[in-house]
Symmetry: C2
Subunit: 194 residues, 2 copies
Amino acid sequence: MNLPKLIIRLPDWVASLLALWPPCLPDHQDQMRLAIELSAKNAETGIDGPFGAAVFDDRGRLVSAGVNMVISGGSSILHAEMIAIALAQKKVGRFDLSGGGQRRYHLFSSTEPCAMCLGAIPWSGLSRLFCGARDEDARAIGFDEGAKPSDWATALNQRGVQVERDLLRWKAVAVLNRYASSGGKIYNPVFPSE
Amino acid sequence: MNLPKLIIRLPDWVASLLALWPPCLPDHQDQMRLAIELSAKNAETGIDGPFGAAVFDDRGRLVSAGVNMVISGGSSILHAEMIAIALAQKKVGRFDLSGGGQRRYHLFSSTEPCAMCLGAIPWSGLSRLFCGARDEDARAIGFDEGAKPSDWATALNQRGVQVERDLLRWKAVAVLNRYASSGGKIYNPVFPSE
């Protein structure tokens, strides 16, 4: 059997965009600004969805970035958060970013994570999650967020991952709404009927 | 900024193992046997966890395989199901396996999916999920399965994904227990403390 492979690699424009930002952003609002800018530029490509993410260490140094690549990458697992997590682990050189319980790495997500990305966070070793737009903001323009536990933020907190919501929410929502009003594709799979 | 990439590629022994099986397995039990054999062989490598998965089409043709590669691949997103889903999408050539609502592709998982893999299923376009060992069987040997909705099987069903549990459960559980009794690594990240 011929086994295919999947290469997760960010598009070239991401490196160009990151080169315009300082490599260290000590302020959480600035870190979120970067995640939101990734979401906006990704939407502007006209291919993938309006979602961006970034992992920073606790000193504000950028570790990795992610953008939604479901369509361009041809796989539904390629959400911005999944890519940012995987590439951060690649950069740091271990599958557990906590390295045995340290609180060092933080994920910034332009929109609250869907059920898959939410499930991925406790396995990653991330210690904090910062969110821009809310789950309901994504649903409002037609994206599905999946079956998340209703108390997902509390569940993450109980696993040692601190959650901060609504950081520059207005700015993140503006990107979602611009995407929707410009006719951006809402690419949820069609659920098979019986 | 130097952007790393992540290549998802199955180890060579998987291709050798698959070459020993017929390319078409019309019986669901045989399809699960293959997923369980992948889990067993993966555990025997002494590196990664005792989890395997496979995607078949509705005629029983093998589309893709997956094994847990969290340690060898250096990323916590590399669960067997995530790999099987991503590689199936690569092979079929689209991010939505349903291709607009057809019921064609089935995921066989040696153990019920964790919260991340569960969240990934509705985005994949898979129409059926077959599970061997139960969630509690994995927890019994120390693996964490994450915060799943208590009625996760119903939630999947409501999204058009039919769930069948306990297919050759005894066989899948035997692999988990052998892994635990031989001192296999339980590699949950240590949750950061406050």
